[in-house]
Amino acid sequence: MTSMTGSTTLNAQTTTTLPGAEVLLRALVEQGVEVIFGYPGGAVLPIYDALFKQDHIRHVLVRHEQAAVHAAEAYARSTGKVGVVLVTSGPGATNAVTGLLDAMMDSIPLVCLSGQVPTPLIGNDAFQEADTTGITRPVTKYNYLVRKPEDLAPAVHEAFAIARSGRPGPVLIDLPKNITVGDAPYVDAGAVTPRTIRMTTQPDRAAIARAVAAMKAGKRPLFYTGGGVINSGPQASENLRRLVALTGFPVTSTLMGLGAFPGTDERFLGMLGMHGTYEANLATHDCDVLIALGSRFDDRVTGRLDAFSPGSFKIHVDIDPSQINKIVHVNEGIVGDVGEIIAMMIEEWEKQPAYAHKAELEAWWAKIEGWRALDCLRFGQDQAPDAVIKPQQAIQRIYELARQTGRDTYVSTEVGQHQMWAAQFFRFDQPNRWLTSGGLGTMGYGLPAAVGAQIAHPDALVLDVAGEASTLMNIQELGTIAQYRLPVKIFIINNHYMGMVRQWQELLHGSRYSESYSDALPDFVKLAESFHATGLRVTRLDQLDATIRQALEHNGPVIVDICVAEGENCFPMIPSGAAHNQMILGPEQEAVSATISKEGQMLV
């Protein structure tokens, strides 16, 4: 096929010609960009030079390109804006790949600008050349290689439209150096008709009416909400709260959806899925109407598919038509923006005959309260002053003491046990406060994410709930934290193991802890000090609260090394290949896992 032609429609325009790098920055400013996370290199020097000469856009210098992407993801997730990344050609672009896929899996709007060797050198194995559009095609929503100056501004405008429209995602623009050095025409965003137009659809009102009729007929209903509600914007969370108040139905949420509905509301059953609560999972299994709002039936949510919510009428609202009937067959699929559709559901609920199953709904709630009474997140903390701290105790106290500060709080996590405990114990009352790598499960996400969140919200309290293994994967970002004096609080739940790997090895591989011990760890206190931060360590229960308080009150960056019990497992847990009503609730039931089938073991 020939090079880019007529991909975007240009409307009437008046032309200004500028050096490509200036055209790029002008387009970014027009798109509302305030911050770029990046790292310079040969192929992007013209862009860095143009950045130097202006003061509309702030550049945040990270210490690794992967971190630039995670920081931009957190910036996007916590503000609702598009995150922007700038990396150089070759290794700069390949280092960004993990972050791009992370954003793709979690539907985070990003625009990644990558340098490229000049067009005449493309294909010659030039210094720092990579086939960046080829490498990033499967990890982006769309990507561009700008070969002609006149394609530059339209590509930037369209990239932002693609990143933020429909199901959001990352878009990459590869910029050969001759394009950024040479002159290019500037066109306004208004002069470009992005191709996203042809992908938008209006929600089907008749389907919404049928869905609401099914909800009205439900005796054991359940909302199962996801990251789509967050992506739709704060109004969607508002609408969800109204719909729940109106119906009185219980709500469970995916990992990505936490905060869309208040975690402290009594109608919230906690997260569902592999490490979800007992009440959320049993309600999912036993409900008769399941209303999935902006969630995608991920394998971490469904467990064994043929036993997933077996008797329910399933309604699925998603902006991405390809998600409907992808994994679980649903009875009513509705395509469109979940916030809008919830508003239409509210209208429809009020229009249709009154809900006639109040008594059954009460009985359903009574059943749920019975499950809740089991208190599935309980753990046995030895209360002796010098007792070893349980990781659950540490995370619960971080949550409670952070809440006591009354400050607007953003929480990032790394990936593993600590992430799941944080998801269980932190109760978010607002959307956009929870920053975690859900779909891809990228270790090393949390520290750069904390950078992005603190840059976006300089006055907020930003916490990174971390594991000692994960956080080492992007530990160099302590440099970024130091440079910009970001007062992030990093709580390392240090159990000297890759905790989730250790847990699976205990449960599924005969306690053979193959390569999962974190040997030769750094002294995190000294590490903090060497990066101009404050380092604290706590090893005994009686010092836990004081140490957490000290960290929260300090006005600069802090690393707290919380030395916790090494052998603790994260429960409840639906073992791989099992159904929602086959949860392991605690250590006393671990023997169950020994019976996991070969098929179960093959699942990740």
């Binding site: 096929m1 929503k141 990507n143 038509p321």
Partner: protein, 172 residues
Amino acid sequence: MQVEVSGSAVISLLVDNESGALARIVELFSGRGYNIQSLTVAPVDEHGHTSRVNIVTTGTQSSIWQVKTQLERLVPVSRVVNLTAEGPYVAREMALVKVVSSGEPRTEALRIAQAFRARAVDTTASSFVFELTGSTDKLDSFIELMRPLGLVEVSRTGVASICRGPQTIQNF
């Protein structure tokens, strides 16, 4: 769960004629484990801005539905139609078939070619190249018949397809 039967489907797409568009489509199939039996692509509008891609794929009804919805997510793809599901359509491909033989097999090959309305587009004392257009089935059976008669090489275009009647891919 009910067991779904596997079948083949012809999917036609209109795509922006831009760099990487075909790669996106092909990588979607390989990345998600879908199958491509044949693929054709060529510009079809007067300015060469739009290409039509025809893909023959196999799978269960629900997996072919998945293929279609996944293709619709691609930015340069403006239209996706599962012709097999949407009603009557015409699907044709062309094959060039080289047969090297002499004596009785050579005569037999020529006779069968005439019966199939294949044209000999190249003839030497020891070989024929037949050109044959038709449905995939027809081409398959012709090639099978040529196999014992000195078949040495086959080149096929893959399927070009279009729906029957006044309807077009644009107004599905």
